[in-house]
Amino acid sequence: MSGPAPLLQVRGAGHRYGDRFGCRDVDLDLWPGEVLAVVGESGSGKSTLLGVLAQRLDLTEGSVRYRTAEDEVLELGELSESAVRRLWRSEWGFVHQDAADGLRMHVSAGGNVGEPLMTNGWRNYGEIRAVASEWLRRVEIPEDRIDDHPTTFSGGMRQRLQIARNLVVSPRLVFMDEPTSGLDVSVQARLLDLLRTLVHEFGLAVVIVTHDLAVARLISHRTVVMKGGRVIESGLTDRVLDDPHAPYTQLLVSSILQG
């Protein structure tokens, strides 16, 4: 799954809240088309790390470099607000844990999926609607719901709509914050299955934060384990979960088997 150069290169990244560090000394690389799971318990710093990578939190230490579609390497901490906004419009996506945070709840499904296109200058109603319709099909939302509002959708359907809204502009990198939490187990499984298919079909790189090792197992190529704000283990997902080296990872893995 490796391309010629990493999409995301993180060195010594850290974010400070007052006196405490939310995360510290994080090194990692992400390649195009690769899914990286960031796992840990609550308070481990995984959400902070995601926030830093997605430019929602300031980088207090270290560097985060991103390689654009034009093969330009950008130091994310130095970008202007408009440059960051441009990345969000064309190359990045963010799937929130609560779909309501990532959707316009009082705009129709078609409008939600069409908006990124319209923001990018699409000006043909028929074409926008056709693409939106196509994406609803891809995420298995019945096409006759295209004019309905997400307030009338189930949790799983809202999450799938959020995914469609993020993927419609063909991003290269998608951040996901516990996208399956709060959903029924069967709904989770279906969602993960869908994600796996889409990741493969569109060659997406994904950074997915989750406390659930099963999610990491099902969907990610590599896994990074966090505790107390630091990365304590990383490697291929199967290796980390089948043969954990760090004692904490061993604890995490074994507690699942017992649960």
Partner: protein
């Protein structure tokens, strides 16, 4: 054949004449004089001055008479006039502890230096209509409190139990003037206080009340409510000293609110502040509650309630703006209404013709 209606100018002139007639009331009754209003309707005059942002009891009274008792009309008159006045400079900040207050009470201590000075207040009256006006037994001639009374906030502050009046670097040393600069959010605390001072008493009261009912509660205690005169001194740098211009009556409220603090910083009470012209306790107290609510973000509190939403509170606190926009709905809007009628009629036509096509005709217009 339809002939267009004309005569708007004449209609307006007649309307003004009728307004003057209605406003005069019974021609046999004596006219109300300005000094009767300043003397006997002092609280109302104070409100017009506070919301008009101009201290001039005589002018405020005149405005009330011209507006036939419509407070917001009076405030509009005052503000329209104020805007034309030339500015010579600024005064020094007034020292509200500088002169013996007419009234000073505190809810935070049973007794304090200078005592609880009730002053002229409605607080303990029985709200029954009294014959012959609000006359009670003549007050005993008491010497005015000899010394100026210390502030409760200063007493607490001496022991560092309450946050300082202002924090280093909190706001500009030179506060902006809301009436001379465009409102651009986010505002500084000084600008918010200006907006609240001239904000509608009812609106600020309602918001303050909402905090007490749980919409952003900040556990207030009335540290001090003070009514009295303060000295106004004009700052004249060329002279090297300040020139006293006279005295104005103000009401000040210092609220003592929910304390902050953590393992690393000492616990301190926080503050809310209110200041208004004349006898305006309700306004000063409400203002202090809302001031404190709007500091939520600064103090690291979750801002979830309407009173804590700066854009919402400040955008809608100005009653002259509010009534202007609400009442402007009386102006003709028939051109835009006609445009809406055109669309609605068209949509209905399309709906009917689709119905004529039979059920199943989709709502969607083909691309």
């Amino acid at each position: 054949m339809y002939v267009a209606v004309k005569g708007g100018e004449r209609a307006i002139a007649n309307a003004h004449a009728l307004l003057a007639k209605v406003g005069r009331g019974d021609p046999a009754a004596p006219t109300v004089e300005v000094d009767q209003v300043t003397g006997q309707l002092g609280v109302l005059v104070a409100r017009v001055m506070t919301e008009g942002s101009l201290y001039d009891p005589h002018l405020a009274a005149r405005a009330l008479l011209q507006s036939q008792g419509d407070v917001l009309e009076a405030v509009t008159l005052i503000r329209s006039y104020r805007t034309t006045l030339p500015r010579f400079g600024c005064t020094l900040p007034v020292d509200t502890a500088g002169l013996p207050p007419q009234r000073r009470i505190s809810a935070t201590f049973k007794d304090l230096p200078g005592g609880q000075q009730l002053g002229a207040t409605f607080d303990y009256t029985h709200r029954l209509f009294a014959d012959g006006g609000t006359e009670g037994p003549p007050p005993r001639a008491e010497d005015p409190a000899g010394a100026a009374l210390p502030r409760v906030a200063d007493l607490l502050g001496a022991a560092a139990l309450i946050e300082a009046d202002s924090h280093p670097g909190q706001d500009d040393v030179e506060p902006g003037d809301l009436t001379r600069e465009p409102t651009v959010f986010p505002l500084t605390r000084a600008e918010r206080l200006q907006a609240l001072a001239r904000g509608d008493e009812g609106f600020v009261l309602g918001l303050g009340y909402s905090t007490q009912r749980g919409f952003g509660n900040n556990h207030p205690f009335a540290g001090e409510v003070r009514v009295g005169e303060v000295e106004v001194e004009f700052d004249a740098p060329e002279l090297g000293f300040a020139v006293p211009l006279g005295r104005i009556e103000v009401t000040e409220c210092q609220m003592v609110n929910q304390f902050t603090g953590s393992a690393d910083t000492p616990a301190q009470f926080t503050r809310g502040y209110g200041l208004a012209f004349g006898r305006s306790e309700r306004k000063a107290m409400s203002m202090s509650l809302v001031d404190r609510a709007l500091r939520a973000e600064e103090l690291g509190e979750r801002a979830t309630a309407p009173a804590q939403d700066e854009e919402f509170v400040i955008s809608h606190s100005d009653n002259v703006q509010a009534t202007g926009f609400v009442e402007h709905l009386k102006l003709p809007h028939y051109v835009d209404f006609q445009a809406e009628l055109l669309l609605v009629r068209r949509l209905n036509e399309e709906f009917r013709s689709r119905g004529a096509d039979g059920p199943g005709a989709g709502q969607e217009v083909p691309a």
